[in-house]
Structures are given as C-alpha cells and as structure tokens.
Symmetry: C2
Subunit: 218 residues, 2 copies
C-alpha cells in the first residue's frame, strides 16, 4: 500500500470527496482502487429503506432503516443528501460523516449530480466538499459500453442513452474533471487531487498555531 502525501505535521479537517460520472465511465472501479490505496479515506455509508439482501451487512453496505424512521430523519435535517428512487429512500446520514471529518478522515461519496447538488448547496459543509466528474475517454468507447450493457429492448437502450446525455450535461457543476482513458492514470489523478486538497490552507486547522510558534522565535 502506498502512502498518500499531504498528511501534515498538525491537525487537519477531513474532506468529502465526491466522484460522479455517467454510467459505464469506470467510476466504481476508480472508487475501489483509491480506497485500497489510502487508509485515511473511508467510504460513505448510506441509509436506505429498501430490504436487506443476502450477503449484505448492516452498517457496512447500508444502514437499513424503515420508512417512518427515514422520514422522521429527513424532517429533523439528519441527512446530508437523500433521494427517493421509486418506493425507496437512500440518503447520507450527517453524524458519522461529521465525526469522521473532525477526526481528520476523508470520506468518499459515490453519488450522482443530484446528490452532489445537495451537498454543495449546504452552507456549513460546502467548503469541505471536493467534486470530481469522470468522463469516458471517447465516443466509440462510450458507445461500446452503452451497447454492451444493453442486451435489452431498444426502449431500454434509448432510455439509458438519454440518461447518459443528461448526466454528461452536469459536468460544469464539478471542480475537477478526469477523462478515464486508463484506470491506473485516473486513480493516480484522483490521488493527486486528494493530496493537493489536503494541502489547502483552510483544511490545515493546526496551521495558525504552528506558524505562530515559528514567528515567536524569529
């Protein structure tokens, strides 16, 4: 496991690293790889009202809660972001994220543009959010991936294509854009963004005392 730079000599506030992309751009693979590389980065765990499936673990894959509980938590502003997909809710509970960030951990979010919009719209956390949009490398690769997945009806293919176009249209809302030609290069780029963001002045909360100490001497 490689050591990721940017772990300073003093206390640092964690950040929220958001990866979004149209389906098939390789985001899930990139997310898994970057989690493997960096022990300080943890995956955000969502809450959901859908039923637990065989093999899934409560508190690892999801927090499984019932609909009434979920709606009560929406009302008490307990989610950083949430969405209703057909009959089920999905959302990111606030407390574990805040706790991890205060301890200096960074949290990875694999969410779409709608979740990202919710995240960056919140005054009190927007400065903690780092957003990356991942693009497929070219038209032919995108076409190949869309068709490979679509051994379904023409209607399903068309729906998927129009959804990809919608998702692509939201790239300007992100801070960074990576074109995923080679998974390895893309993971390197995410790593570099993470390392750079850790050097941002506003995340290094021990900095003021550190510099004060240097100034007292000189």
């Amino acid at each position: 496991m490689r050591h990721i730079k940017g772990q300073g000599a003093f206390k640092r506030r964690g950040l929220m690293l958001v990866l979004s992309s149209p389906s098939g751009a390789g985001k899930t693979t990139i997310a898994r790889e970057i989690l493997n590389r960096d022990p300080n980065l943890v995956m955000s765990i969502s809450a959901t009202t859908r039923s637990i499936r065989p093999g899934e673990i409560e508190g690892k894959d999801y927090y499984f809660i019932d609909k009434k509980d979920f709606e009560a938590r929406i009302n008490s502003d307990n989610f950083i972001e949430y969405a209703r997909v057909f009959d089920n809710y999905y959302g990111t509970p606030k407390d574990p994220v805040e706790k991890a960030m205060s301890a200096g951990h960074d949290i990875l979010f694999d969410i779409d543009w709608q979740g990202t919009q919710q995240l960056v719209s919140k005054q009190n956390i927007m400065q903690d959010v780092v957003t990356i949009f991942i693009l497929p490398p070219n038209v032919s690769e995108l076409e190949r991936r869309l068709k490979n997945r679509a051994q379904d009806s023409l209607a399903v293919v068309k729906h998927r294509m129009s959804k990809v176009s919608d998702e692509l249209s939201h790239y300007p809302e992100y801070q960074y854009v990576i074109v995923n030609s080679e998974i390895r290069d893309s993971v390197d780029q995410v790593e570099q963004i993470l390392s750079a963001e850790r050097c941002k002045i506003e995340r290094q909360i021990g900095l003021h005392d550190f510099v004060q100490n240097l100034r007292n001497l000189s």
Copy 2:
C-alpha cells in the same frame, strides 16, 4: 524524468504556479527540482534594471533593460508584478507569460508575498494563479538556518529574523501550504498540486466540445 499527470486529451490553458517562503525554507531547491521533473513547466524570467553580471545570459537569467525603458513599461501596464529594490527595478513582463499560458504551458514564479499580492489582485489573471507557501519544518530547524546564514553582525541577524517573521505572517494569503520536512516529499506535494490544478474544470478549455461530442452520440 517522470511524466506528470494531468495533461488531458484536449486543449488546456496554462497556469501560474507561485512558490513563496521565508528565506531558508528550501524554496529554491524545490523550484529547481519541480522544473527538472516537468517539461511543461517553465520558469518565469524577470526583467531588471540592474547590471548584467559575469556568466549571466540575457533572456535566460533576466531581461536586462534600462531604467527609462522599465518605467515606460510600468506606465503602459506591461508588468504582471514589479518591485523596486533600492536603486533597481525587478518585474515580470506580461507578454511572454500570456503567450506561454495560451500555448498550454505552466509558469513557475519564485516571488515573495508582495509580488504574489500583485498577481492575485489582477482581475484578468487571478483565476490562472495557484499559490503555494512553503514553511520550515520546525522552530529548531528555522533557528539553525537563520544562524548558519548569519555570520554577520548582530544587527544583520536581528534584521533577518524580523524579516522572516514578517514573511511568515503572510501565509494565510496563499491557497496551499507545504511544510518542508523532506525536500523529496515537498517536491512530490508541489507536483501533486500542479497535477490536480491541471484537472480543474476552468483550465480544460477543450472540455465543452469534448462533452458535446459525447452527448451527441448518446
């Protein structure tokens, strides 16, 4: 020579990478190393009114121009930043920088907080500027370096110390802060910041057409 990531598939606008630090923090070594690593990064060349010294090369070390010419260029807003040090002027001419950035090159500036303030105050270039402040690793190392350099009078030592304290006080005006414990780690961090900044959406000026192309298909 290692390849620095972040050179995208399409046209990118260059950026201005500013390194500042109090004297003795290792900035010059870091600047030399990062220039060695990255063929796309070029050093900014200043103009000066001081006399050329033996071994110096016009257009490589400095652009040597006379005082009258320098002042005329100040009046026609020809410098990105400039300063008068005793009887001589030093400044960064605009044209070569603009030309290099348009061609997608990044430019390294080894300037102090006063030059940096001039750079980031300019509306039309502030979005191109990436600023890094380099700190010495601890008090005892700073002390050692200040004393090592000071085989001069007590007055000179005191002057230098108070200057370092002044310089340190300007760290909050920078975007990134690096604590230079190990030169190699610090160069890595500068490299990561450079790579990350190249992935910033506003620098990838070919992005709109690229995504439009993907969307047309899907």
